[in-house]
Symmetry: C2
């Protein structure tokens, strides 16, 4: 076991050997520095991709392909944070340069060999963001016959973009993903338009159901450049987030079109640009961006299910994405189909308004109490405590990114053992109600479910208590077989009265949003988004190593996907923005290991 | 000369002696710890006032009056920043407690005795701000029949405040002063309404002349809680600041009434509340706050000057506060009366639009080049460099506040010696044009002029170059004797053609804003605002030691003044908010040394 100070020397020695090997183009020597179990996750710097290389063989192949073009140099170990041991594994922070830019990374050594290496691109040489020491002056010293002041120049730019001047990049979707990416692109002087179908920035949150608050804590949720202030609540109510996004768009000076919908987009291979038809305030506008980004939300179109007898049903029936409030349903019989996040939130909301609620659970759900998840899941990286101990959002994001998806389940399994022990009484009560709990096929819990399938879990902020005490009834392992005028018949033969049926039945893959706008062919060509190919139900292999299609080149030239929760939207907006900027500037971007498509949805 | 480490021991030893003396109520012993030249500046903690005690006698008197009630304890020297020497003077940061709250300060020792001591109140015990670890959860865990979500609760509160529920505090004026104070009061749960006459928050900036940008750099200008992001320009254009203020009001959830004007306010001594008539969107509303704050701007009503022959003048004539743009004046003859900030900005703006401009300089002006002031004036405390060296805005504000006004001129004289040397060529060119330069009666420069008279200076962002090369003509030591139909006659006998006359003739004292709203009697009773009583022209003695009336109790019960530049609005909003909160909670607030009134305007 290497001690702290010794590890610092070991890390420097490793890096020096790595540096020399790479500088000498000695791929074999570089690869020998990695252990039997090794992972190199690269975000743009080496691969111009979002890519995890697993094992020495994959690392070798990548280096042979890209090392010459990347020409890394200037490797150094950071002093603060200094190299240290974390659970016996040595962890060191790195900085380096490449032909195109400057990067930062995290190295983990076991027995003197690299176990995990994270390399990320932070900025492009010659195209650094104008912030901090480089922030714009705001005024040019001296007086001159200036045509426009700031407001006039901004107005002129807004009027021109999309009319007399084409944007380089068009982002479809103005939620947190589109907004975060737009902010990064603005910083990099990439002319961008964000197209948002709602009337105001933030409406995608305002339009959610009445009782919604974020389930991730504030420190996890910051947007780039402008963090939530110290007095922001831990869990932000939907309207408060909506207001923040609206003001962010304004103060970050984004070109954001509201009441604007992307109707059609087609890629012109010869001119290498998109022809996009947008309907803005009801009027058609044609745009010709070079790059098209879908930031339409991790969840694609709703999974509507066709229920026999729906035509005879006299009550209301709709997908969870249309649910607004339980107000009309006091005393009514409500059936919620599904048992994940939306199902729980909606069932609880209905109960609050005095409805009779039954949840139809079709498959087991992973439930974690919010307080427990805060403490065991978030505390180390995203908490007041973390901030005070020097773990900035930027550092937390890199540490989070430094754990390969192959390694993550093992770590999560340990965390969930602890969670289940700590909340044993809670889980026992919940199970007693008949509710079907699970923790994932490999017991790796909620985070892995999120990355693998985006469903099958609930962070409990109260609904589980209502289920446990019978206020919300649960029927498990059943589905609706048939609708009757005022009731539902279940697959186990039972019949339940029903005035309202909410289908919390999930969403399709994000790429299906491409179909109506571009084409079915292109939606199939780029394939399924998200998921890791872990082999669990709904996440079929082969193993991808990274979420499919997100924040990186796809099989359709100049078509990209951005999004995820606030954390991923924030962190990965940087990497996608750098890839787009590099292309705009005509820099070489040799993509290594473009993701192949194995599933279309 | 005490070395660094030795000084740490000396500081601790001094503080220990001070602590013991105070704890033992031994005022003599406490006072003996101060040097022959000594100053104790207290912001609320000891005096419930904004007060500088000068010399041992004044310190003794204050302690004899307030020590028992304040009951200070828990004195300790901070480790980071650690005690250190600055130009041979030992500087240490302190923390302490009082009966009511917790404070922070800065101590400077010379030869083992206190030279300057700054004590400030940071928070009230039992009424700490809900931020950081104490930030609100945003949602109460558990599900319950809640009546309102966040948006509904906020809406209900906004509807009630001023209608069915009275605010504790009413702030007249919604510029940066009113907004910063409003944000602090919100954090302290003091029901507050801000009344702004313009239609939108930020309009007080938007309505300024077209070319205006801030002349203070960004690091000096942050608002409380939500700092400008890293990409904010060094000098913000007026409209950009306007937008920031507008969004700040929204995300900080301030109760901010636009198109609302305070018409009349009268204090009811028996019920100890104000009767205030506000006109909101044209409709009268009666409010009964307990506290009334004027945040109407450091500059009171404009100094209009009556010019003989004005009735016969065929051109336009107005005060600088009404100037918007030079656009209509291409080729026109324009006279700008005055030679300070507004006069320079306006003269330059007119020149940009192709006008013929003559500045009538009535008295000498202190000019400093913006880049030079940035480097020699701001760099140490408010700059990227300062931030990177650990000087947060909060620390910079305290360091700034730690220099007594009696000591400041001496330090500024040295800075201005350097400035004049560095920019000797610039000044020579400017003087050659006939422009009358000065650096204050005691050569202490721009900062002292700002604190003493609020006028007589210009931070050069280009106009001086135009004056130096004759593009803007200057006539010095003259005034307008008479207006003719299309020209002005000057006191030296000359006559100048004139299509436009802009009177950059300054403003009255802030307390004159009280007269039309409350009464002349009360405006006289509270007296002049701002100024130090230094004895220079327009700042008549006696010496006050602090800006008159600002951020502290006045001679009118429950009437306060808040404002200043963005720095002072930010920093002193904390101290005023704490005083108001303490009164709301009925805490004892024994005010020491209530400022007497020596001047009415």
């Amino acid at each position: 076991m290497v001690e702290g100070i010794e590890f610092g020397a070991q890390a420097r020695s490793w890096l020096s050997a790595f540096d020399h090997a790479l500088a000498a183009s000695d791929v074999d020597a570089a690869v020998r520095l990695f252990g039997d179990e090794c992972f190199w996750r690269d975000l743009v710097a080496f691969t111009w991709n979002v890519k995890t290389l697993e094992g020495r063989g994959e690392i070798e192949a990548m280096l042979r392909a890209n090392l010459a073009a990347i020409a890394p140099s200037g490797w150094r170990i950071e002093d603060d944070p200094a190299p240290h041991l974390v659970n016996g594994v040595g962890e060191a922070w790195l900085r380096f340069e490449t032909s195109a830019g400057r990067g930062r990374g995290v190295l983990r050594l076991k027995d003197g060999k690299a176990w995990t290496l994270l390399t990320t691109l932070e900025e492009l040489k010659g195209f650094e963001e104008r912030k901090a020491e480089k922030r714009p002056m705001g005024t040019t010293h001296g007086v001159y016959r200036r045509e426009r002041n700031w407001l006039e120049a901004k107005q002129a730019e807004e009027d021109a973009l999309g009319a007399t001047k084409q944007p380089y990049c068009l982002i479809i979707g103005g939620g947190q993903g589109g907004i975060a990416l737009g902010a990064r692109l603005k910083q990099l002087d990439v002319p961008t338009i964000i197209v948002e179908k709602n009337a105001r920035a933030g409406d995608s949150w305002r339009n959610r159901y009445r009782s919604l608050v974020l389930h991730d804590p504030v420190w996890y949720d910051h947007l780039p450049y402008l963090k939530f202030p110290e007095n922001w609540p831990v869990f932000a109510p939907k309207d408060k987030i909506g207001d923040w996004l609206e003001m962010y768009v304004k103060v970050m000076e984004l070109n954001y079109w509201t009441s604007a919908e992307c109707v059609r987009a087609a890629y012109d291979e010869s001119s290498r640009e998109w022809n996009v038809e947008v309907r803005r305030d009801g009027r058609p506008v044609t745009l010709k961006p070079k790059q098209l980004v879908f930031a339409t939300g991790a969840y694609g179109p709703p999974n509507e299910i066709a229920l026999p007898g729906a035509d005879r049903f006299e009550g209301q029936i709709y997908h969870s994405s249309h649910y607004k409030t339980g107000k009309p349903y006091e005393g009514k019989s409500c059936i919620v189909v599904g048992s994940n996040s939306s199902a729980h939130d909606i069932a609880a909301d209905l109960w609050e308004y005095g409805a009779e609620v039954t949840m139809l659970q079709r498959s087991p759900t992973t439930v974690v109490r919010s307080e427990t998840l805060m403490e065991l899941g978030f505390d180390a990286l995203y908490s007041e405590k973390a901030v005070k101990s020097g773990i900035t959002t930027e550092r937390a994001d890199l540490l989070f990114a430094a754990t390969p998806f192959r390694v993550m389940p093992g770590q999560q399994i340990l965390i969930y053992k602890e969670i289940r022990k700590r909340d044993a009484a809670f889980y026992a009560r919940l199970a007693k109600s008949g509710f079907q709990l699970d923790f994932g096929e490999d017991e790796s819990g909620l985070m892995m479910k999120a990355m693998r399938t985006g469903s099958g879990y609930y962070i409990d902020v109260g609904a589980s208590g209502l289920i446990a005490n019978g206020d919300i009834k649960v029927r498990t392992g059943v589905e609706i077989s048939r609708l009757k005028p005022r009731s539902v018949a279940l697959t186990d033969g039972a019949e339940l009265p029903a005035d309202l049926i909410v289908l919390a039945t999930g969403f399709q893959s994000m790429n299906r949003a491409v179909a109506p706008i571009v084409s079915e062919e292109v939606a199939d060509k780029v394939g399924k988004c998200w998921g890791l190919g872990s082999g669990v139900a709904n996440d079929p292999g082969p193993w991808e190593g990274e979420p499919r299609n997100m924040w990186k080149p796809t099989q359709q030239e100049a078509l990209w996907f951005h999004g995820g929760n606030l954390h991923l939207s924030r962190h990965f907006s940087l990497f996608l923005a750098l890839q787009l900027k590099a292309r705009m500037e005509g820099l070489p971007t040799p993509v290594y290991g473009l993701q192949k498509v194995h599933h279309k949805s």
